[in-house]
Symmetry: C2
Subunit: 147 residues, 2 copies
DNA sequence: ATAATAAATCTCGAATTCGAGATAATTTAA
DNA sequence: TTAAATTATCTCGAATTCGAGATTTATTAT
């Protein structure tokens, strides 16, 4: 257990994982950039689009971003008029981010294209292989998270 | 082919991959931070440690960083006296980055620990599963790179 | 009811990365 | 052999993210 060889395998997996993710990320960023958004903006907008209005802090929890970064991204999306801030009447500490009709319209246009792009980018594996990898990645991810 | 369901599987894989990588990356960054380095600095130092002196531009090619970013990281490592710049006598445009004895000493100390940490972090899978995932990730990565 | 604690958002400055363009050296072509 | 194109490195400013701490509001404990 934990021989040099096992360490080599883990190191190799780390390297291969990093490289693969770098290639994939690059493609996905190219796709998103076509829509005039960066990945973080897209993630926020997608969240509001699919899950409805969210307290600003919840956004940070879901897409794993510091509160100060969320403020920055929400500011940018608000300037682009893709979302608006709405104060919460029940708790005045809370501000909701709410996608606008322009935002919804944009997402209706680009989300299908984005799905298509991801389908393309992940074309290196067939469906069954993807399902297997999903399970293995979950195991890996949960384990690393618990450490 | 390319049904909604297949797109769902790809999207799911993307989400799970992103999450897993985020957890893993966080752990690895914690590990590297313990040594007083950030991931990029570590990558540069590891390259020089294992492959010897490198022209500054080659470093950028290998760890996929823009030339301006390399200048920044090499500056930092030079200030920490972990590497030195050495002009190339054959081609005066070229500057080599060369790990110092302090840098070598540091890497001799921390590299085994780093291997151990990665072994830990990737403990969610056994060796055979890792080998399989390496093959699948290569397929995914090459495919995405070629697009 | 008051004080202490917690929670949500924001401000600010630092760190990191990038892209565009500057500079200097080398190679290629006319 | 000049001129043009290429190559290596660096400078500079913009974009993005973070962490620490400030502010405001809500909750909990005394």
């Amino acid at each position: 257990m934990n021989s040099t060889h096992e360490q080599d395998v883990s190191l190799k997996l780390f390297v291969v994982l990093s490289r693969a993710v770098q290639s994939i990320t690059k493609r996905i960023e190219e796709d998103i950039k076509r829509y005039g958004l960066n990945p973080t903006e897209f993630a926020v907008l997608e969240l509001l689009f699919s899950k409805g209005d969210q307290p600003i802090q919840k956004i940070g929890d879901k897409i794993l971003l510091a509160s100060s970064s969320i403020t920055y991204v929400v500011d940018k999306l608000e300037k682009k008029q893709l979302l608006v801030r709405k104060p919460c009447s029940k708790d005045r500490r809370v501000t909701y981010a709410s996608i606008t009709s322009e935002g919804t319209e944009l997402m209706n246009t680009i989300f299908p294209k984005h799905r298509e792009a991801i389908q393309q980018i992940f074309g290196g594996l067939d469906s069954a292989e993807k399902e297997t990898m999903i399970e293995q990645l979950k195991k890996l991810g949960y384990y690393a998270q618990e450490l």
